[in-house]
């Protein structure tokens, strides 16, 4: 058969196929232009369109029914609270309200709504809009997951739980069109910060009512053609898993200072994909630079690379209800034996800061005095006191973390540290995210990874976690003095006294060690050099109205 086939004029056949292939390739090139083309970023720079890699598809744009960061990123462009925050000084600056006063005891706030505040459909924004919005936010049937943020307002919690039926008893009142009065339950020094949070944004209730009952979740009012907001931008397109487009709102009070014309948010779940899109010039910026790429951008001193401390802590939880972790000596021994400096230097390598206590240092003047030290000798002693000298007889405990390479590296390093320094063998177990959350919530674990990013810059957001039976305690740990100190701090109207209570509470936490703080988070981002006005922020928040684009001058 071989011989037979040789009789074919093979060369003719090959030429025929070759011709087909070449024609196809040429056609493809003609169609796409096989040359360096203008990227989306180049075009965006000329037309003032910002392209953002957003970490996930958004569930909704209604701030009362969503909680995620991707949603938050979009909501900050669509709405504006009473007060904004200066990204550098972190001081409040006028937003919808152009001025405000605070009573001496810090419990009554009066806001003057600016006369030119408008909704994106041209309606005037008045004080009553805030009253109606917060009424909605606290309606039980809406099941707003941010509702507890409003509990700082007097009687808000009672209204939410149904103890009070009449909303007029809640401490928020429109004195007239322009003036809003808010009574707080306690002196809350971080209240102005909360007002810049998406849970406190005003919503256009008339639009919501057009598409359903006021306390109905997820109606059509958030679709692009129906949406009304009060922010610098307005929703223009929302195609699931593809793009969310927002356009500059002509009715925004400060529109003359908004330089971007449009922002396009792309849901890019994978950090690796996001970084690739950035390199190919398809997005200006995105959430998180993959860990393994950090060194590359750092070493070549890429102007796009930004690293900055964040208000968040990575830590391990003990299940304090089970043996041997019900013994504080064991918990202390395990915590004291961890070399966190070496962990951030050799394992995480993203510029993280070793953490010796739960609360990260903060610019408002609170830094914990108490610490959980790195002290090997003491650790060994404590473990021996607990009856496990040199780790003999210590049960094989399981360390649980959610499936992610970064967490695994840390877990392996810590497993090694305990083995070397204390002679303790632990087992590692990883679980898919939702399974992990469920097991953590129900305390079906022995040791587990955890993290917390502060909701506002105040020690309260961290120390609140570990009050007895707190929804996010999840360690089974409880201490009556600690609870009292947190309560006292909430009732105190003197800042230094308040911080002193927090100091004492944190000292108890560091003595009792229900958790082992490992490091303070840092943000690692790429922001295209053509994006101007970007400021690093402790909570990684930014304000789109301050951003503008300048075509890059190539070096």
């Amino acid at each position: 058969m071989q011989a037979m086939l040789n009789h074919f004029n093979l060369w003719a056949l090959m030429k025929y196929f070759l011709r087909i292939i070449i024609i196809t390739l040429v056609a493809l090139c003609a169609l796409t232009g096989c040359k360096k083309h203008k990227t989306l970023v180049d075009i965006g720079n000329e037309q003032h369109i910002l392209h953002v890699g957003n970490a996930d598809e958004i569930a909704d744009v209604d701030p009362h029914t969503t909680t995620g960061t991707p949603e938050h990123n979009i909501q900050t462009s669509l709405f504006e609270g009473l007060v904004l925050q200066d990204p550098e000084t972190l001081k409040p600056k006028p937003g919808v309200a152009d001025s405000w006063t605070v009573s001496d005891d810090g419990k009554i706030y009066r806001f003057h709504i600016r006369e030119d505040a408008k909704w994106s459909n041209g309606d005037k924004l008045v004080a009553q809009d805030f009253v109606e919005t917060w009424h909605r936010a606290l309606m039980p049937a809406l099941a707003n997951q941010w509702a507890s943020y409003l509990f700082v307002i007097s009687n808000a919690e009672s209204f939410y739980t149904g103890a009070i039926k009449d909303f007029s008893e809640v401490g928020v009142k429109a004195l007239d069109e322009q003036n809003l009065e808010i009574k707080l339950a306690n002196n809350t020094p971080y209240f102005l910060q909360l007002l810049n949070h998406n849970s406190m944004y005003p919503l256009h209730i008339k639009t919501i009512l057009k598409f359903g009952a006021i306390d109905e979740r997820s109606t059509q009012w958030t679709k692009a053609k129906n949406f009304v907001g009060n922010g610098p931008f307005v929703l223009a397109e929302w195609t699931p898993q593809k793009v969310v487009v927002v356009k500059r709102s002509p009715y925004y009070w400060d529109v003359k200072n908004v330089k971007l014309k449009e922002i396009h948010f792309y849901p890019i779940q994978s950090e690796v994909n996001a970084e690739r899109s950035y390199r190919a010039g398809q997005i200006h910026l995105f959430d998180k630079l993959p860990k393994e790429k950090i060194a590359h951008y750092k070493n070549k001193q890429d102007p796009a690379y930004r690293t900055f401390p964040m208000y968040g802590t990575y830590f391990y939880r003990f299940n304090t209800k089970i043996k041997p972790f019900n013994d504080v000596r064991v918990r202390k021994a395990l915590a004291y034996s961890l070399d966190r400096e070496s962990l951030v230097k050799n394992v995480t390598k993203g510029g993280e800061l070793a953490a010796y206590t739960l609360t990260p240092p903060n610019p408002y003047g609170y830094t914990s005095k108490a610490q959980i030290p790195y002290d090997l000798e003491k650790a060994k002693q404590l473990l021996a006191d607990a009856g496990y000298a040199n780790g003999v007889g210590f049960p094989r405990m399981k360390l649980l973390y959610n499936t992610l390479e970064g967490h695994q590296k840390i877990a392996v390093a810590i497993q090694e540290m305990w083995k070397k320094s204390l002679g303790i063998e632990i087992q590692l177990e990883n679980q898919e995210w939702k399974t992990f959350l469920e097991n953590q919530r129900t305390m079906n674990y022995e040791l587990c990874r955890a993290s917390w990013i502060g909701d506002y810059i105040d020690p309260d957001t961290f120390l609140q976690l570990f009050i007895t039976d707190g929804g996010n305690n999840e360690t089974g740990w409880s201490n009556a003095t600690y609870d009292q100190l947190i309560k006292k701090a909430a009732n105190s109207s003197n800042e230094s006294e308040r911080f002193e209570y927090f100091q004492q509470a944190e000292k108890i936490l560091d003595e009792e060690v229900p958790i082992i703080p490992l490091y303070t988070y840092v943000g690692n981002r790429l922001v295209s050099p053509s994006v101007k006005g970007w400021k690093n922020h402790l909570q990684d928040f930014w304000s789109y109205k301050d951003l503008y684009l300048e075509p890059q001058v190539s070096p």
Partner: protein, 311 residues
């Protein structure tokens, strides 16, 4: 023939119901729920949410009301993206997935057939080994390796083609189609080579050559028709596989297709979306398998006789 199809359709109904029931219990048995998140909210809120979405009812009751809605063609609202119904999301995502699968199939057929035919003309020579090694590589190289590799070369180094998107920038459909189609091209190459080898040794090819016909005419008009029959029977399940298996490619290239929705739904515990996609894909697979069976019966007189003969 009609009876045969009818029988097959009736056979597939219990299969679909089994798929629904098994998936339903599996998603509800998975730990965590659509509303579990890192920061826990007060228990009253969780209770309200569960009430709102009927998650506090017994699972059997939930299953019955789900199947009831399903019979009316309603997949229900998505848990994670509650302003969209699952129907809307499937309608939004499927055309993209279908288009991707279509281009991938076209790529697979073109490249696969050319390689297979070229190889079959000179078996056990370089002309055979080179395309066949390529095919072996194509089968072994999974799309999550091939995709990023192509992206690196054509997207980042050469800057010829975009690295993400679908229909946003000209040319962004090329790399995903090639990535998805590559392994199928490899299979088609191997199958068509086998088919061609068999046909080329037949007497009628010798006759055709003896009559002095041009090689192109012999290969394309006489041999190819018989040689690619096995490819056709491969295509039915292959297209179903391309549709249901496109999620890796959709994730790599940021394509807003149904496969990506499906995988995300599993991570999000979006019960209705998981079920909707599973049922939809199960339905597609059943339909494509039925179609390829019907075509096979139609092409093969022996089978046709069996079918019309009853038993």
């Amino acid at each position: 023939m009609f009876l045969f199809i009818l029988k097959r359709v009736f056979q597939s109904i219990p299969v679909l119901f089994l798929v629904i029931a098994v998936t339903f219990f599996m998603v509800h048995a998975a730990p965590g729920g659509p509303f579990s998140q890192e920061r826990n909210v007060p228990p009253e809120v969780v209770k309200k949410l569960n009430q709102r979405y009927h998650l506090d009812e017994p699972v059997m009751q939930q299953l019955f009301s789900y199947v009831g809605d399903l019979l009316r063609g309603d997949f229900g609202p998505s848990f994670k993206y509650p302003t969209h119904t699952v129907n809307d999301l499937i309608i939004a995502g499927f055309p993209t997935t279908f288009e991707l699968a279509l281009y991938a199939t076209l790529f697979a057929l073109t490249v696969g057939l050319i390689a297979g035919v070229v190889a079959s003309l000179r078996p056990n020579s370089a002309q055979d080994y080179i395309p066949m090694s390529g095919a072996m590589l194509g089968i072994c190289l999974p799309s999550f390796v091939l995709g990023p590799l192509l992206l690196l070369i054509f997207g980042i180094w050469l800057e010829w083609l975009p690295v993400a998107g679908w229909g946003q920038i000209p040319g962004d459909k090329i790399l995903p189609s090639i990535t998805l189609g590559a392994s199928y091209a490899a299979y088609i190459a191997r199958i068509s080579r086998g088919g061609m080898l068999e046909v080329l040794s037949q007497d009628y090819i010798r006759t055709a050559r003896a009559k002095g016909l041009s090689p192109i005419r012999i290969v394309f008009v006489h041999a190819l028709r018989g040689g690619i029959t096995p490819v056709i029977s491969f295509l039915g399940p292959a297209i179903a596989g391309l549709l249901a298996g496109s999620f890796v490619v959709e994730t790599i290239f940021q394509i807003p297709g149904l496969g990506r929705f499906y995988v995300q739904a599993a991570f999000n515990r979006d019960y209705t979306m998981i079920l909707g996609c599973t049922i939809f894909f199960a339905f597609l697979i059943i339909v494509f398998n039925l179609l390829s069976d019907v075509i096979l019966v139609y092409l093969n007189p022996k089978l046709r006789q069996q079918v019309s003969g009853g038993h």
